[in-house]
């Protein structure tokens, strides 16, 4: 059966892109430089009109929320075939203070509040963004932290859930370019300090439920003062405050959600939650939830299939690291980096801790394999936040990008106005050789030294490779456009659920190859840190693209297969249009 190819028109193959590189576009603001060999990314935010600076409202009081945001979301809100960008904005954490009291003012001319930038991708592949916040009816003006994306009412338009230090907001995408705030009607507010959130269909009823990770009980009135390495004030760690419990909202299918946190058994364990990623970790067909907590045990909520979850993190080996130590987990990403058909976890931590790789044995038990894969030592100098498995070079291996930035004063930067800057990292998967830090070889885009937090991943220019948007704390948003070229092929799949949720979030896709193990990927927008990524599923295929078929395990439980798959293209697979599939032999 032929796959449904609906985006051929948008698909600019690598070959076409090479041809276009020499053309002179009409976009005066586009200043993309041809990358030198080995520099996979070029930073093009300002050049493409994605101009946004995060304002954290720091006033010298060292209120903890100042140092934790922001995230970023990539979503095709207007269904024009390209990814738009939503950027949460903070404000003054103390409502009694005015922005004039901030140490680092909002840049002149930049409006307050969250912003939505529409991608007006040019025919020649050039990116151009326009701020459409006001037209879209957005612009949440609280102290936003992160954002999750998902089509909760299955109307084909992606909705937004914005987390905040304060009231969270659910924006329903009306389908006409506008959003409306349906938080109260939907019953999904959480007044606590919320961080990452994720849409998932935990009860397999075909609509997306919502998990919200919460951090700590912080109030301006209860602000504590903590000292840094020289006795001067610095931001407190999570231990200074009590953790706040997380929330699971069940989608009732009528525009309303029900808080089922207690009924689902999630109340018995919680910590200062910062990251969340949902996947079927034990291979039983039900979506599980992994929560990364800051300085406390992480939780692995295994879905029991009856509306309840059980936290198996300790015995599964993912609550604390191999050395019995709870780490300051911030961002988290799940992916099958070793191509054995299960979801492995990578999470980011404080400097002087390592980031941690937990390898799944297929049953939901994990081994801390950080050192064995050479991921420990390279992370020691950095405090990691956003992170994702991505195949940046289309060689079919999942690599890693990590957004770094300190939360306590960097000794080497002491005396500077905002001494928390670090560089981000690009880490290549070298297969059996482990991972190699390629940051130094990756050019100016990876040489930026900023306070990075959220990071979202997706093919913004529809050229078949994964671009990255990095959300910086107290700094400008960065767009790292992937300019990798070469002989590697790719395939990007959009799912269209019919019995399952519309975007097929939670589905597992197996790309079957001749003579090689299948490549497993998951349809998701969650993971990283405070951020939401492209809901399409990207496969790097390497130079010899020998695709036989694609199998999909839908969230609803059915399995289908499609043959005759083209490469270097975007395809859509609609649930019910494939052949029944028994799965990998």
């Amino acid at each position: 059966m032929k796959a449904v190819l609906i985006w051929r028109g948008w698909a600019l193959s690598a070959v076409v892109m090479v041809l276009l590189a020499g053309c002179e576009g009409d976009n005066a603001t586009q200043s993309v430089q041809a990358p030198s060999h080995g520099e996979p990314f070029v930073e093009v935010a300002a050049a493409s009109g994605l101009v946004f600076t995060h304002f954290n409202g720091a006033s010298g009081a060292y209120y903890q929320p100042e140092v934790f945001g922001p995230g970023v979301a990539l979503l095709d809100y207007d269904r024009d075939g390209d990814l738009d960008v939503y950027l949460p904005q903070a404000g003054m954490p103390d409502p009694g203070q005015s922005p004039a009291q901030a140490l680092f003012p909002l840049p002149a001319g930049q409006p307050t509040g969250d912003r939505l930038f529409r991608n007006e991708l040019q025919a020649d592949g050039m990116l151009r963004f326009t701020d459409v916040t006001d037209i879209a009816g957005l612009g949440h003006a609280g102290y936003a932290q992160g954002v999750a994306t998902g089509d909760f009412d299955n109307d084909g338009y992606t909705d937004l859930y914005v987390t905040a230090f304060g009231t969270n907001v659910l924006y329903h995408n009306q389908g006409d370019g506008r959003f409306i705030d349906v938080t109260s009607a939907a019953g999904v507010d959480d007044p606590r300090w919320s961080t990452s959130a994720a849409f998932l269909d935990y009860d397999r009823d075909g609509d997306l439920d919502l998990f919200v990770a919460n951090y700590v009980h912080f109030t301006v009135a209860g602000n504590k003062q903590c000292a840094g390495g020289d006795g001067t004030l610095d931001y407190c760690g999570p231990q200074s405050y009590r953790p706040v419990r997380d929330r699971l909202f069940r989608n009732d299918g009528n525009g309303r959600f029900t808080d089922v946190s207690d009924a689902a058994g999630l109340g018995v364990a919680f910590g200062p939650g910062l990251g969340v990623t949902c996947a079927d970790y034990n291979g039983d067909g039900w979506q599980d939830i992994y929560v990364a907590n800051d300085g406390d045990d992480n939780q692995l909520w295994i879905n029991q299939g009856n509306g309840r979850f059980e936290n198996t993190a300790l015995m599964a080996g993912v609550a604390i690291n191999a050395y019995g130590k709870a780490e300051a987990s911030m961002g988290v990403t799940a992916g099958d980096f070793d191509n054995d058909g299960d979801e492995d976890l990578f999470m980011t931590h404080l400097d002087r801790e390592t980031n941690t790789l937990y390898v799944n044995d297929g049953t939901g038990n994990f081994l801390d394999a950080t050192d064995a894969h050479k991921l420990g030592r390279i992370s020691l100098p950095y405090t990691g936040f956003g992170a994702a498995w991505l195949d940046f070079d289309n060689d079919s291996d999942l690599d890693l990008f990590i957004a770094n930035g300190a939360v306590r004063i960097e000794e080497s930067l002491r005396g500077q106005p905002y001494p928390y800057q670090e560089r981000n990292q690009l880490i290549r998967n070298d297969g059996t050789e482990g991972f190699t830090d390629r940051t130094e070889q990756s050019g100016p885009a990876l040489a930026l030294v900023e306070v990075s937090r959220g990071a979202a991943f997706g093919d913004l220019d529809n050229d078949g490779d994964v671009d990255i948007v990095v959300a910086n704390n107290n700094g400008p948003t960065r767009l790292l456009r992937n300019t990798i070229d070469g002989d590697n092929h790719w395939l990007t799949v959009r799912l269209q659920g019919t019995r399952s949720n519309r975007a097929g979030l939670g589905a597992r896709l197996a790309l079957l190859r001749a003579g090689k193990p299948p490549l497993w990927r998951r349809a998701h927008t969650d993971g990283s840190y405070l951020s939401a990524s492209d809901d399409r599923v990207h496969f790097g295929l390497g130079a010899g693209a020998d695709v036989q078929a694609i199998g999909v395990v839908w969230p609803h439980g059915t399995r289908e297969i499609w043959h005759d798959i083209g490469i270097d293209s975007f395809i859509t697979l609609q649930e019910g249009s494939g052949k029944a599939w028994d799965g990998i032999p």
Binding site: T219, G231, T232, R242, G267, M315, G317, Y323
Partner: protein
């Protein structure tokens, strides 16, 4: 930056900012690092004087290695590692043969993430004083962290030859062996570690995962259970050189730390003295005042509680521990409205504080404000479903108002926790059922409480439960 400084002075009225120490001498050997210029350090006056005096002495004889070491140690004691390292480096240059300097410099560098420097100096310390075992342990830890597994293994093995009964050395060697894929070697060493120190949490955790990987579920569960009971418990490090830093710390924080140790070892009067010393050093220390309120409360000294409560609320009206302790004391005195006011102060700044909601609910129940009490118990549970006290009180209140089904749900939830408090809670739940006229169920729960108390070796509790059972049987 001016704004920052103004804020800090306003926000920390009790702390005196050290004025910039400028214009210091830079005499002596030009190859030596400069004596650190401490520009914006904020400490209580006695600490400030201690640092200034040590620095002034050093400036008199800047090439005196012992004085460099002393200033380094004082700064290190207050976690001012960067300037401490400069002082240690000067001392090390001036007196290369001193192992204490090499060791402390290596420790400070390791704490600051300078693994190369730490490795060099800890190696030097071992060379200078091969018998000082903690240096081997610390160097092994740094080497392990930086992936030098073979060298780390050698060091831990040498350490075990020196101190065969070091639980830490066995555990660290086990970590290296696990990283080298020697699972059996790792299990053997961790087993020895828990033989030497039975509540060694991380060693039990490592054993649990190792047995899980081997498919031995029973042993895995047993070790995980031991880990759960004491997850952070580890053997004390016997390290006289690091202990000497602790002795130099005269801050309120250090006195509070000592007081907690004294309380834990059953010396409340000595703890009181340490805490009073803490508030003399730093009159604005909320932690010290709050601990004093708690301790005076335990010692039934209402005047002491009152005095420190007044002091702490002048600094921070919403101070959590102070208000909760003070409110509890007032409730014990039957002053429930005043107690409620104290708990409300906490909730004004911390509206999600589960314990404050529980206590406020309890006070309201005493004031016959059942609806308010119920609301606060529910808020307590909403914010922390593991709050057993709130669960018990809500269950009891619901039972009293004849909402038995929901009451039973809450009471069952409270009974399900398994830890050292389980016997106590089972006893209380039994009491609730007895008050509700369910004598048989009450007696069953009391028997369960007795079994738990016996299993946990809680003699006093066991005695109390046995007496209650006898009484109930007689009065039924």
């Amino acid at each position: 930056m001016q704004k920052t400084k103004r804020y800090m002075i306003r926000a920390l009225p009790g702390l005196l900012a050290i004025a910039a120490i400028t214009g210091c001498l830079r005499p002596g050997d030009p190859d030596l690092p400069d004596i650190p210029e401490l520009t914006v350090v904020e400490f209580a006056e006695p600490v400030r004087q201690q640092i200034l005096a040590a620095r002034a002495q050093l400036l008199e004889t800047p090439e005196d290695a012992r004085r460099n070491l002393r200033l380094g140690k004082i700064l290190h004691a207050y976690k001012l590692q960067s300037p401490a390292i400069r002082c240690y480096q000067r001392a090390r240059e001036l007196q290369p043969g001193d192992y204490e300097t090499a060791y402390l410099l290596g420790i400070a560098q390791a704490q600051m993430g300078d693994d190369a420097g730490a490795t060099a100096n800890l190696r030097a310390a071992i060379r200078l004083q091969p018998d000082y075992a903690p240096a081997r342990l610390r160097l092994g830890e740094v080497l392990f962290k930086t992936g030098e597994l073979a060298q780390a293994q050698t060091l831990f093995e040498e350490l075990l030859a020196q101190e065969p009964d070091s639980a830490w050395a066995h555990h660290r060697l086990a970590q290296v062996l696990a990283a080298l894929d020697d699972a059996e070697g790792a299990i053997g060493n961790n087993r020895r570690a828990v033989e030497l120190y039975r509540d060694f949490g991380p060693a039990h955790y490592a054993l649990a995962l190792a047995f899980r990987n081997r498919g031995d579920t029973e042993l895995a569960q047993a070790h995980m259970e031991r880990y759960r009971r004491q997850p952070k418990q580890t053997p004390a490090h016997v390290d006289p050189l690091l202990a000497s830093l602790d002795a130099l710390d005269i801050s309120a924080t250090a006195h509070v730390r000592r007081a907690k140790r004294l309380q834990a070892s059953g010396q409340p009067r000595e703890a009181l003295l340490a805490l009073e010393q803490a508030v003399r050093v730093e009159p604005q220390s909320i932690e010290a005042h709050s601990q004093l309120i708690r301790l005076y409360h335990r010692l039934n000294d209402a005047d002491g509680v009152e005095r420190h409560y007044r002091a702490v609320t002048a600094i921070e009206p919403h101070a959590v521990m102070a208000n909760l302790e003070y409110g509890t004391l007032l409730a014990e005195q039957g002053r429930f409205a005043d107690a409620a006011a104290a708990f409300e102060k906490v909730l004004a700044a911390h509206p999600d504080h589960s314990a404050a909601h529980t206590l406020l609910g309890q006070a309201m129940e005493e004031l016959q404000q059942q609806a308010g009490a119920e609301r606060h118990y529910r808020l307590a549970l909403e914010n922390d479903p593991n709050n057993r006290r709130a669960g018990l009180l809500l269950g009891r209140l619901l039972m009293l108002t004849d909402r038995r089904t929901e009451a039973t749900t809450h009471l069952d939830g409270v009974a399900q926790h398994s830890d050292s408090d389980q016997a106590l809670y089972l006893q209380r739940i039994a009491q609730v059922y007895r008050e509700a006229g369910e004598h048989e169920r009450a007696m069953t729960l009391l028997e369960q409480a007795r079994t738990q108390a016996a299993a946990q070796g809680q003699e006093r509790m066991l005695h109390e439960i046995t007496q209650t059972m006898t009484h109930w049987r007689e009065t039924q």
